[in-house]
């Protein structure tokens, strides 16, 4: 289990959520995401809660975004790998701007072979459905990337995925 280096990346993501009026944050927990989840849950702007499974979070976000509440789903790489059917038949087929934020495990020092393999499936899955994704690696860029990716998702009514690289979440910056 990696430990997040002290940095302000959670603040950058949180600020982008607020700037783009994301208010609902269903999540499946992850250790790297812990400071982001804690910051979001401490902020009354957001409604944030855990789900039993990542598909649920996608369904909740889909219902909310069609009802006027923007949402972002937080999860880990292995959880993302459970999603292709829901992304294809719900999010993409109905053209819904559902945003995912995935903390990337399985690369740059992973100890778990299963995580390393499942990590290789993530970008091909996203690419195969034409889902825009951005890998966030630098503290000085991540806020801009998150803000612009979310803005485009909601403007073009198409899903987007922010991938939080260990370069952002574990590297001293």
């Amino acid at each position: 289990m990696t430990t997040a280096a002290p940095s302000h990346w959670p603040g950058e993501i949180l600020a982008a959520f607020k700037a783009q009026d994301v208010r609902l944050v269903p999540y499946v927990p992850d250790n790297v995401l812990r400071p982001l989840i804690a910051a979001i849950e401490a902020d009354p702007h957001f409604t944030a809660f855990p789900c039993a499974r990542e598909e649920e979070a996608i369904g909740i976000a889909a219902g909310a975004v069609m009802s006027g509440m923007r949402a972002a789903c937080l999860m880990q790489t292995s959880g993302f790998a459970t999603l292709p059917n829901a992304l294809a038949s719900l999010v993409c087929a109905f053209q819904l701007p559902v945003v995912m934020v995935v903390s990337e495990r399985g690369t740059l020092g992973e100890f778990n072979p299963g995580q390393a393999i499942v990590c290789r499936t993530m970008r091909p899955i996203l690419d195969s459905m034409g889902i825009e994704h951005h890998t966030l690696t630098r503290l000085d860029e991540c806020g801009f990337q998150a803000d612009r990716a979310l803005r485009q998702a909601f403007a073009t009514r198409w899903p987007a995925c922010l991938i939080l690289s260990p370069l952002l979440t574990a590297r001293p910056q």
Binding site: L24, T47, F49, P50, C51, A52, R53, E55, E56, A57, I58, G59, I60, A61, A62, G63, A64, V65, M66, S67, G68, M69, A71, N85, A86, A88, S89, L90, A93, F94, Q95, L96
Partner: protein
């Protein structure tokens, strides 16, 4: 194994199309209805294909209740119903705990229990073979206002109560194996846009 002494066994077998029409006939305040995959949403479509507050899910089996939860959280003043098959709910049982934890006052889950995967050829679900009780599962998950409908009259009463009192509510009904007769248009983008526009209108 077949059990004859359960609450489920003491209910009548009803008809999904008829019960869906009874639900839709009670909706006068722009309630949102999310129809689960296949027959659940085909019968919803047949009940009133002009109703813009209906959302007709495609292939994301098991996500009717989570989608409805998202609508219910976004719009606490609007009643929101999920119509879900037993096989579908079995795929996503964890959502009952998530829903119980959020405790949305305005959410109603209707479970159509025909004990089979009807659309794939009528194979029995493992829940049918084990005697799984949906109402018991829902209550044990924390959705305390969960009930079997013994007959059409009780189904009507349960729906009316769910539409007028704080939830979340779950209503389970045993149904026959009659397939949905009117398939929805295969036009997901139109459905999403129509539903989004309908949700932008105030609750009547």
């Amino acid at each position: 194994m077949t059990r004859n002494d359960t609450p489920r066994a003491n209910t009548q077998v009803m008809n999904r199309a008829a019960l869906t029409k009874r639900i839709v006939g009670k909706l006068h305040r722009r309630e949102a209805v999310v129809g689960g995959i296949g027959n659940s949403n085909w019968d919803l479509w047949a009940a009133d294909p002009t109703r813009a507050e209906n959302f007709y899910m495609l292939g994301s089996m098991g996500l009717a209740a989570p989608i409805a939860l998202g609508v219910a959280i976004a719009q606490p003043e609007r009643r929101v119903l999920a119509l879900e098959g037993d096989g579908s709910l079995l795929m996503q049982l964890g959502c009952l705990s998530t829903i119980a934890a959020r405790a949305p006052r305005n959410l109603i889950i209707v479970v159509w229990d025909n004990a089979i995967y009807q659309i794939t050829g009528g194979q029995p679900t493992p829940a049918a073979q084990s005697g799984t009780d949906w109402v018991a599962i829902a209550r044990a998950s924390g959705i305390m206002q969960s009930h079997w409908a013994a007959d059409e009259a009780e189904f009507d009463t349960l729906v009316e109560t769910a539409l007028t009192t704080d939830g979340p509510h779950l209503i389970a009904a045993r149904i026959d194996a009659e397939p949905g007769r009117h398939q929805t248009d295969r036009d997901p983008v139109r459905f999403a846009q129509a539903f989004t526009r309908a949700m932008a209108l105030p609750v009547a």
